[in-house]
């Protein structure tokens, strides 16, 4: 009789342990990886490469002291695609160019994507469901040797796919 009770007990313990392991694995693997920060970083790098190459502004975007890029051709010129499976636009990019020593006033600006996402950048990063922002700046030159500071801001929403 005691042997039967012990075997039932072992069976119960086996079920509890197996259930615990299943719970642990499903808890860990059911939550998605949040890759938005990296995605925003890659987007910023890509835009940076689109504007400047080996220290100089690229001819495709800047010629004869004028920027050839605007809101209509930004995605095409930089070889970007902001389409996603969600209904609303999930991306936002802003490029500000400052000329010479005048780093306070933007000489040129181009904006593309969902403008509503920019507001999320001022909210604390601790809130997981808000959009991820990534901003970088770098200097570059034109062929005449004029100096430009390029500031790029990229924002990615996609919170439904990246945060549970």
């Amino acid at each position: 009789m005691t042997d039967k009770i012990i075997s039932v007990y072992w069976f119960a313990i086996l079920i509890i342990v197996a259930g615990g392991i299943i719970a642990m694995v499903s808890l860990f693997y059911n939550s998605p990886y949040d890759v938005r920060e990296v995605e925003a970083g890659i987007l910023t790098n890509k835009i940076g490469d689109c504007f400047s190459d080996v220290g100089y502004l690229r001819q495709e975007v800047f010629d004869n002291a004028n920027f050839l890029i605007n809101e209509d051709n930004f995605l095409e010129k930089c070889d970007l695609n902001f389409n996603s499976t969600e209904n609303e636009l999930q991306y936002f990019s802003q490029v500000n160019v400052f000329r010479g020593s005048d780093l306070g006033n933007s000489f040129f600006e181009v904006v593309q994507g969902n403008k509503n996402l920019k507001a999320d950048c001022s909210i604390s990063k601790d809130y997981g469901k808000i959009s991820k922002c990534f901003e970088k700046s770098f200097f570059t030159l034109d062929k005449s040797g004029n100096l430009y500071l390029i500031k790029i801001l990229s924002v990615i929403d996609k919170s439904e796919k990246n945060v549970k």
């Binding site: 615990g20 642990m24 940076g48 990534f134 570059t140 100096l147």
Partner: protein, 85 residues
């Protein structure tokens, strides 16, 4: 009487063992759920490592512009770097 005592102590051992197993399982479930919350890739993984040092693509771009710049522009870049250090 002695037989009953032995049975009681054996039962107690199983009960304590079961409780320990359940507590350990709960602790592990809690740990795995906290690991699941921090599953995110950061921009540190975008940096390329070269001879033990991280290479920032934007710092490289600025460095290139700095080397190609005139003295006047170099001063502007130096000042900007100081402000953003």
């Amino acid at each position: 009487m002695l037989n009953k005592k032995a049975q009681l102590s054996e039962t107690m051992t199983w009960i304590v063992a079961t409780l320990i197993i359940i507590v350990v399982l709960i602790v592990f479930i809690f740990i795995s759920s906290s690991f699941a919350k921090v599953k995110s890739l950061t921009t540190k993984s975008l940096k390329i490592s070269s001879e033990g040092e991280d290479v920032d693509l934007f710092k490289t771009k600025t460095e290139l512009a700095y080397r190609l710049s005139s003295e006047e522009n170099k001063k502007i870049i130096d000042e900007w770097r100081k402000q953003n250090a």
